[in-house]
């Protein structure tokens, strides 16, 4: 339905044509067993840090700071989460979580609308500066955010929007927009114009044909793109660190960093609970849309 490539889905559905050429032979079987064993080792290496984060977060800090390392939360506790979430310290968790949620959702919704309009323009219309616009979108993605922090800080300061939801949201919309336009462009391109034309022959107006035929087909693309935007905005760290430094206006990543610096190495259990709380929405969302993750970045290169 879309031209987007889903490499990991293909990992399941389409076994590579390579192994056809390689089947058979007793030595093959030994190699296959060795590779399988190696894949288990690799699996452990990739998963262990995630496991360790969750494992530590369920242990009492005494166990974490004991002479023995606990590979399972033998003395299972939810205390860390309780302290992290409800501790009314200098930088409380709940307002930070609320800020993150509001900024991220606003960003995703507005960026999706803007990107949708722009992607329709570049896929369904031919106009003079179309190529220049697409080129700009590509080039902007290459400008390092670190280079821009200072001047973005001053611009937002000039609008009196430092330490506000609105200021951070506008900056995030601009951050997410190029990638969102680029990805959505691929999805809109994937819906053949002929479908719209058929609807127009049947009496639809051009806008009506787009709205009734193409738009419903775009729903999965819009959802996937929205989730990418969500992950990007939810994880964003540098801009939030500079723009919303006031404790009550922090987002979760900045809160986590502040919590880390304040507690130092004395409360790893609490820090891991905080990390888990921040990572879980991202991991869940990511697993939902992972197949389409690469499409925006290497679309074309992995056409197939």
């Amino acid at each position: 339905m879309s031209a987007a490539v889903t490499p990991t889905t293909r990992a399941v559905t389409a076994p590579g044509s390579l192994d056809r050429a390689r089947r058979g032979g007793g030595r093959r079987r030994v190699t296959t067993w060795l590779l399988s064993a190696l894949s288990v080792v690799l699996f452990v290496l990739f998963v262990f840090p995630v496991y360790w984060m969750v494992n530590t977060s369920f242990q009492p800090n005494n166990d974490v700071r004991g002479s023995e390392v606990h590979f399972f939360p033998d003395n299972f506790t939810l205390r860390n989460y309780e302290t992290v979430i409800f501790d009314p310290g200098r930088t409380p968790f709940l307002p930070a979580a609320a800020n993150s949620l509001v900024v991220t959702l606003l960003t995703v919704i507005i960026a999706l609308v803007f990107a949708f309009l722009a992607s329709v323009a570049v896929t369904r219309f031919r106009f003079k500066s179309r190529r220049a616009f697409i080129l700009t979108i590509l080039v902007i993605q290459m400008i390092p955010g670190e280079a821009m922090i200072v001047s973005v800080f001053r611009v937002v300061d000039g609008w009196q929007l430092l330490n506000t939801i609105a200021g951070l949201t506008i900056v995030y919309i601009a951050t997410v927009l190029p990638f969102t336009i680029w990805t959505l462009r691929g999805f809109v391109n994937g819906v053949p114009v002929e479908l719209e034309e058929a609807a127009m022959i049947d009496g639809c107006s051009r806008a009506g044909a787009f709205w009734r035929v193409t738009f419903p087909l775009l729903a999965p693309g819009l959802i996937a793109t929205g989730v990418f935007g969500f992950i990007q905005a939810w994880n964003e760290f540098i801009m939030a660190l500079v723009l919303n430094a006031r404790p009550e206006m922090m987002t979760l990543p900045v809160w986590l960093r502040t919590f880390l610096v304040a507690n130092g190495t004395t409360n790893w259990a609490g820090i891991m609970a905080g990390s888990t709380l921040m990572a879980i929405p991202v991991i869940v969302f990511f697993l939902i849309v992972q197949g389409r993750m690469t499409s925006g970045l290497v679309s074309g290169a992995v056409k197939g």
Binding site: A11, G16, I134, G190, M272, F286
Partner: protein, 330 residues
């Protein structure tokens, strides 16, 4: 070779291909439906243009202006800035600290890209040959690592490498009998700091690269490999002469993205410094810009470093952008 080419065509079905089949006459069918309309497309891109101009365009202009000015804390509070033209750039380019930071960044990024690409290629090749169940297992593992936000990943690895209670020191001492790792401080020595940072970066980067390369590998036609095998080509020869040429475009694009991402690494270094590194000895370009401008209040010099970094990255990404434009036949 001609048979190979014929086989390749139907092996790449996509929505675009399907569209082409239904559109006799060939050419560029997806353009046919585009209207040379007057006002509508401009209205559609206006919201995006406004936001990008305000948050990217205007700050970019400001950044370049500031890099030619003496701009410190006084200017932030309203004092008019002095024009110093190229003084900031001259200062930066004659500052040994900058070259230290630049060299460190290039070395670190280079090492990370190299390790990432080698590991990813091996894992991609491995995924092709793995039995289905094990392939699923490894896929799930890599997806979890990929999904971890960079900040939490850094903090978790920092905790695993913790001096007193870290699981890595524990394992080295108790399982491998390496007593010298008792209370070992991984982050104090810059070299070992960057080793830890490199592990974090590579761990997070390999899944994307491996999955993408694997997607490319599945497009290598099995018939050609079979033929090569019959002709007596060994495993490495098959990789060098058949698989890699097919893989090359994807390999190049993934490498470019890794170069760009690793050169502008910020979160991993910054958070690891919080956990225990010595900032002055472990700054990379991204962190150095932050330290000079935001923490140090010297926006003029910070701006000059930012412009230099941006130019460096843009120069590197030209290749990537050209490649994408070529593939996308805009």
């Amino acid at each position: 070779m001609t048979t190979v080419d014929q086989d390749l065509e139907p092996a790449a079905p996509s929505a675009v291909e399907g569209e082409r089949l239904t559109a006799p006459g060939g050419g560029k069918p997806q353009r046919r439906g585009r209207r040379a309309a007057g006002f509508t497309p401009y209205a559609l891109i206006t919201p995006a243009i406004i936001v990008l101009a305000a948050i990217v365009g205007w700050p970019l202009v400001q950044l370049i202006i500031t890099s030619f000015q003496e701009f410190g804390r006084a200017q932030v509070f309203g004092a008019p800035p002095n024009w110093v033209w190229f003084d900031n750039y001259i200062d930066v380019f004659t500052d040994p600290v900058f070259y230290g930071v630049l060299g460190r960044t290039l070395l670190f990024a280079g090492a990370c890209v190299l390790v990432t690409m080698v590991l990813s290629t091996l894992i991609a090749l491995m995924l092709v040959r793995l039995p289905k169940g094990f392939r699923m297992l490894l896929t799930v593992g890599m997806l979890l690592a990929w999904a971890m936000p960079a900040l939490t990943a850094t903090i978790v690895w920092g905790w695993m490498f913790d001096t007193a209670y870290g699981v890595i020191n524990y394992a080295l001492v108790n399982w491998f009998g390496l007593a010298e790792f008792d209370q070992h401080q991984w982050l104090i020595n810059p070299l070992s700091f960057f080793m830890v940072a490199g592990i974090i970066v590579v761990w997070g980067a390999v899944p994307f690269a491996a999955f993408t390369l694997y997607a490319g590998l599945t497009q290598v036609p099995g018939e050609v490999l079979e033929a090569a095998q019959l002709d007596g080509a060994g495993g490495f020869a098959r990789f060098r002469l058949i698989i890699f040429p097919y893989l090359k475009p994807i390999f190049m694009i993934v490498t470019m993205l890794q170069v760009i991402w690793d050169l502008k690494v910020f979160t991993q270094i910054f958070a690891l410094q919080d956990i225990g590194g010595i900032r002055a000895q472990t700054n990379t370009l991204g962190v150095y810009i932050y330290q000079t401008s935001i923490a140090g209040g010297d926006f003029g010099h910070g701006g000059a470093i930012a412009v230099i970094t941006a130019v460096l990255l843009m120069a590197i990404s030209i290749y990537y952008i050209r490649q994408v434009l070529k593939e996308e036949e805009l």
